[in-house]
């Protein structure tokens, strides 16, 4: 117990001083995961909506792909993107490897299926009479999707929360694609791996607490939005 106590007191000390390095890591985490969540939602929510309101060929196959993507291992997503962005790879000329932009790309890939899957599930969970009415109105596909998203808007916040929760917590993709370069591509999760490997447990726990606080704050905000958006 003495050991745990020492680790915690170290962690608290680090957190109370909250130095420049910790600020940089926390800021980059928020920037990378926040951007990936926004991009993932912008692509995933329309994708999920079109899957839910239906009416096109190949919908089943895409739905299977999305559901698989929801559980896709982050390290594999990282590896896939690594091969694409490698200097000899098809997108090597972009020179994005080991940059925050590449990390955003990797996390966006992880966020899209989550946002799409939760959106599709939420819209499909609307009452059958809502779906019947939506079909009966004979709206254009886009208008139909907009009405469905509006009706299930509380679920859209859940989609965003789930996507953010997934990307902010993952380590495999950002580690491979970002390289955990100090001051450049180091985020909270990769920093925790680094500090743990070097047995700097106080630092690791401090980073872990920051990560938890971010996850709590963002999910708290989104849950509040979700509740507020519920039908009375």
């Amino acid at each position: 117990m003495e050991f745990i106590g020492e680790v915690l007191s170290d962690a608290l000390e680090i957190l109370t001083s909250f130095g420049a390095e910790l600020w940089a890591v926390t800021g980059l985490t928020l920037a990378v995961s926040g951007s990936a969540t926004v991009l993932g939602a912008l692509i995933g929510i329309p994708l999920g909506t079109s899957l839910a309101v239906g009416g096109f060929r190949g919908r089943g196959a895409i739905l299977v792909a999305v559901n698989t993507g929801m559980g896709f291992p982050p390290v594999l997503a990282g590896l896939l993107l690594l091969l694409l962005l490698w200097s000899d790879g098809p997108l090597g000329a972009w020179g994005l490897l080991f940059t925050p932009a590449a990390m955003v790309m990797a996390q966006t890939l992880l966020a899209i299926p989550i946002a799409a899957g939760v959106t599709a599930a939420t819209i499909q969970a609307l009452p059958p009479s809502a779906h019947e009415q939506l079909a009966a109105l004979r709206l254009t596909r886009i208008k139909k999707g907009l009405v469905a998203v509006g009706e299930a808007r509380a679920g859209m916040w859940a989609a965003v929360a789930a996507a953010f929760g997934r990307v902010v917590a993952e380590v495999g993709a950002v580690l491979i694609i970002g390289g955990n370069i100090k001051g450049e591509t180091r985020v909270l999760t990769t920093a925790i791996v680094q500090e743990s490997r070097q047995a700097r447990f106080g630092e690791a726990v401090a980073l872990g607490i920051v990560l938890l606080v971010i996850a709590l704050a963002v999910n708290g905000l989104l849950t509040w939005l979700q509740w507020r958006g519920r039908p009375s």
């Binding site: 019947e132 709206l139 509006g150």
Partner: protein, 327 residues
């Protein structure tokens, strides 16, 4: 036209190999609960995942309002011009709520009026209505039925209902559906007074629905002129306008010959028996008195009267048992 649909969600199987549709006509699909009426209408509206069979505006049985204002819902899927028309229909149907109100605050009856107005305002050639008045209070139903009949005049419509009075007010032709099949098609008056089988008689209920024109009324008594005959009943149809008289088969008393016994009944008509059919423990007797009417007798009464096809009888009905509705 032919419609075949299997709808596993509620286990019902629809099997309509052929039925008759005419543009500009209001067809009632009448039948008991679970007879497949809704599935039939949904199949026509293209709701069962197949090709849409009619270019139609469809009002589902349980209309759903989306989150937003009542006015936004009223105009959903409509052009500006159609939305204005929907507003006129809504007012005519007695939707008095302000359109700025949230749709979630509307009562069941208000929701149904709103959705009905929106459905009628769209410009698809056909209108498909599933139990359009079911969410309304009984007291409002007849008035709105009359408004709806007016709004539908000249339009091509298919209306599903299990309510006799609604069928009588809204319909021109009627198809009786039992067990997923259409058992009889014909004019509303014909199907009610001359059901083709016992099964149909049981489905439509034994009732008389007689079409005519409103004659001069006095106080609360209305007169319906049907050819050379007059039916007196309760109601206030506008004189000269088409209307219908409704009365139950059990309200008819039959006398042999040309003379009715003494009694308080205002209506007496003499005619000949057209058909006699057993229905369970009762007997249906169809009589042509210038119009077709149907009466219910016990086997004992039938024997006492000694009636057969072609017998001359006089039918009597109290005016208070007859309801007169404008159509």
């Amino acid at each position: 036209m032919s419609v075949t649909a299997r709808y596993p969600a509620d286990g019902s199987i629809l099997d309509v190999s052929e039925f008759h549709l005419e543009e500009g006509e209001r067809l009632i699909v009448f039948g008991p609960n679970g007879s497949g009426k809704t599935t039939f209408l949904r199949a026509l509206a293209g709701m069962l995942g197949e090709e849409r069979q009619l270019d139609a505006a469809y009002l589902p049985q349980h209309p759903y309002l989306f989150r937003g204002s009542a006015g936004w819902n009223l105009g959903l899927g409509l052009t500006d011009e159609q939305a204005a028309l929907a507003g006129q229909f809504a007012r005519r149907f007695g939707l008095s709520v302000q359109l700025e109100r949230q749709a979630s605050q509307l009562s069941g009856g208000e929701r149904q009026r709103l959705c009905l107005a929106r459905t009628l305002a769209s410009n698809h050639p056909w209108v498909l209505l599933d139990e359009p008045l079911s969410a309304l209070d009984v007291s409002d139903r007849a008035a709105l039925a009359a408004q709806l009949a007016h709004a539908l005049s000249g339009r091509s419509a298919i209306i599903v209902t299990h309510d006799r009075e609604e069928a009588a007010i809204l319909g021109e032709r009627m198809a009786v559906m039992v067990g997923g099949r259409i058992l009889q098609e014909g004019s509303v008056t014909e199907v009610f007074s001359l059901p083709a089988s016992e099964e149909i008689a049981r489905a439509v209920g034994t009732a008389n629905v007689i079409s005519g024109f409103a004659g001069t009324a006095d106080e609360s008594l209305a007169r319906v002129v049907v050819g050379d005959s007059v039916i007196t009943g309760m109601g206030t149809p506008p004189p000269g306008e088409p209307c219908r008289a409704l009365f139950g088969a059990e309200a008819v008393t039959l006398y042999r010959g040309r003379e009715a016994g003494s009694g308080s009944a205002v209506n007496h008509w003499t005619g000949r028996v057209v058909a006699i059919r057993e229905s369970g423990r009762l007997i249906h007797i169809s009589v042509d008195v210038g119009f077709l009417l149907v009466a219910l007798l016990t086997p004992g009464s039938l024997e006492a009267l000694g009636l057969g096809a072609g017998s001359e009888v006089t039918a009597a009905v109290k005016a208070t048992a007859v309801r007169v509705v404008a159509t």
